[in-house]
């Protein structure tokens, strides 16, 4: 990421959202709204002094809510670019000074009384006097092709009432990953959140929300492997911790993956085939995992100190909005839909927009890297060629017949139709690059003004005649 940020040919727009998109492949016009930060990023050095002075404590998204961050913050130590922002929704307006107002002048010193964050900043980058700009700074970009890579989120544990989600020692695998991390809330020390003591028994539960018709029918694909990784990490560091892993099935497809699973078994990690149906909190605060062992064919239970839930991978909350902005289609599971599952895996229904990573479906890092390289290569092709090949079977408006009602504009799934003025009258016009020849406009047009080349009424009637001639 650091290399990306320093490359002169790459402009990085972080803390920004795509607002609107117009045009077609090779000529997209994208409006990007940069969110207001109240920190001058040209001055901010990422030193973090402001974070230490800010009195606010809100759940830290980066550590999956396991600890707190201030209202002025840098998302995580390795963030690129490493710049602070003020989360204005959580700013408590120190000394009663609302953002967007000038600081009071001290009667004693004659100098302005700054907020703690402003005072702490050695570079003078923070300015809470700036008024809220609801529009933000809008950047307009001319781009040829677009790669969508919005990533994923994991389900929260609160969905799963059967697994005692209120208990602090029940956590999602992502929270556990942060707990194990050297930059995590405990500095990498493995402790039970409820007691701050080292756990003795840890249970993992797979397929929580995945392969479950109450939530998501798909397999999240990465859980089995990351659970085994976490289990192995613990077992390597603390061989005295007992680990139980409850699997519906163990799914380890991929190069060297099953060997990894085998090595985990040989390390003494207990694999129990069968999904636990519930967790009960024992009087001493430990957790009773009520499970089933398919090997024994019997109900079993584990009395665990911590339970890790491998919750399902989902699309981020705002992916649907982005899909609408970009006119992309989404599939039944909410992921962005590729044009063809086998032959056009990175292309979308909109020519010039490509997909990479978990926004298209759950996948692990090797698959994401491979797909991202494919998407980057596919996105470079029209740019290098300078032209695109279009299908001949697309629609065209006979502007003599068009009444300018605009019905076709509303029904077109590819936003290919615009209205233009011909002799002062509105007339529909179809973009030859955006049209995919689906024929919806042709059948919708009340004036029969739109021809779908190759499928005119005359041609279809001739085909019917030819097919029925022999009868």
């Amino acid at each position: 990421m650091v290399q990306v940020s320093t490359n002169p040919n790459i402009e990085l727009l972080t803390y920004s959202e795509v607002e609107h998109i117009d045009g077609f492949v090779g000529n997209f016009k994208v409006k990007v709204r940069k969110k207001q930060t109240w920190v001058d990023w040209k001055k901010c050095t990422g030193c973090g002094e402001c974070m230490e002075k800010c009195p606010v404590k809100v759940p830290n998204e980066f550590n999956a809510g396991l600890d707190h961050r201030p209202a002025v913050y840098i998302q995580f130590p390795q963030a690129v670019p490493k710049k602070a922002v003020i989360d204005i929704d959580n700013c408590i307006n120190c000394a009663g000074r609302k953002f967007g107002t000038e600081p009071k002048i001290s009667k004693r010193t004659g100098k302005p009384i700054l907020a703690p964050c402003e005072r702490a900043c050695p570079a003078g980058a923070i300015n809470r006097s700036l008024a809220l700009d609801p529009e933000g700074e809008v950047v307009e970009l001319d781009v040829g092709t677009i790669v969508v890579a919005t990533g994923f989120k994991v389900m929260e544990k609160d969905w799963f009432k059967e697994y005692a989600p209120h208990h602090p020692d029940v956590m999602t695998a992502l929270q556990f990953e942060r707990l194990l991390s050297a930059t995590g809330p405990t500095g990498g020390k493995l402790v039970r959140p409820s007691t701050n003591e080292k756990p003795k028994v840890i249970s993992f539960i797979s397929c929580v929300g995945s392969r479950d018709h109450r939530y998501h029918t798909y397999c999240s694909r990465v859980c089995c492997m990351y659970m085994i990784k976490q289990a192995k990490l613990i077992k390597d560091k603390y061989p005295d911790i007992d680990i139980y892993m409850h699997f519906m099935d163990v799914r380890t497809p991929g190069k060297d993956f099953d060997e990894y699973y085998t090595s985990a078994i040989e390390k003494g990690i207990n694999i129990v085939r069968g999904k636990p149906g519930g967790i009960e909190v024992l009087p001493d605060g430990r957790l009773r995992v009520m499970a089933y062992d398919a090997g024994l064919g019997k109900d079993v239970e584990v009395q665990a100190d911590m339970v890790i839930l491998a919750t399902a991978i989902e699309v981020p909350d705002d992916a649907k909005k982005l899909a609408q902005t970009l006119h992309l289609t989404i599939d039944g599971s909410g992921f962005f839909k590729e044009l063809h599952p086998k032959l056009k895996p990175v292309e979308t229904a909109v020519e010039g927009i490509y997909l990479a990573g978990c926004c298209q479906g759950p996948k692990d890092i090797p698959d994401t890297v491979a797909q991202a390289k494919g998407a980057a290569a596919a996105a470079a092709v029209p740019l290098a060629r300078g032209k695109v090949v279009i299908e001949p079977t697309i629609s065209e408006v006979d502007q003599e017949k068009c009444s300018g009602c605009g019905l076709c504009v509303a029904v077109c799934p590819y936003q290919a139709i615009t209205m233009e003025l011909v002799n002062d009258r509105p007339r529909a016009k179809i973009s030859v690059t955006a049209c995919k020849g689906c024929g919806v406009c042709t059948s919708t047009c009340p004036s029969e003004a739109i021809i779908l080349h190759g499928f005119t009424d005359k041609q279809i009637e001739a085909q019917v005649e030819a097919l029925t001639m022999a009868v």
Binding site: D242, T262, I265, G268, D293, G295, K298, D299
Partner: protein
């Protein structure tokens, strides 16, 4: 704790696996319960209560004692079909035999087996009866076959071997 629910614990599991590994069934840790061994095991097909897959899972979950009084381990014919089919190189037959050794150490075998062991020690034959002698002589053979039965020094050798084997720990002789 609920009635009939097995509480999994690492202490029993470790002890069970260590015991079986020490007695020659080191493949027990590798088993993923695919069940190939059970599907072709003559012991399982004949309907014995115990079969390799089940025995291995019992050991993996720390239930070493569960089947100790079950004599069906002794029904294993050592055909080795399970060893040939096993995709994880578990060698289920060796696990069954390791379990038999464990059963023997706990004197969990039938009394008829004790008589055979004593015969082996005393005569050099596990199965030995006086009745053979007459039959052999009728067809013109010497009363004893040309085995340990005819050579007391060979019996001595067998006794030396047995005396130096773990079976002596059982105190049968």
């Amino acid at each position: 704790m609920y009635e009939g629910v097995i509480v999994l614990n690492e202490k029993d599991r470790k002890q069970a696996i260590e015991t079986i590994v020490r007695l020659g069934g080191e493949g027990v840790v590798r088993c993923i319960q695919c069940g190939a061994c059970e599907s072709i095991c003559p012991m399982a097909l004949a309907g014995f209560t115990l079969n390799p897959k089940k025995l291995i899972r019992l050991i993996q979950t720390g239930h070493l004692e569960e089947m100790i009084e079950d004599s069906s381990t002794w029904a294993c014919q050592a055909c080795n079909r399970c060893v040939e089919i096993c995709p994880r190189n578990v060698k289920p037959f060796e696990v069954v035999f390791a379990y038999r050794r464990y059963q023997a150490m706990e004197l969990a075998f039938s009394t008829s087996a004790v008589q055979s062991q004593m015969n082996l020690f005393e005569k050099g034959h596990a199965v030995y009866t006086e009745a053979y002698k007459e039959t052999r002589q009728k067809v013109g053979l010497p009363p004893d076959p040309p085995t340990a039965a005819s050579y007391p020094e060979a019996v001595k050798e067998i006794q030396t071997l047995i005396e130096n084997s773990p079976i002596m720990e059982l105190g049968l002789f």
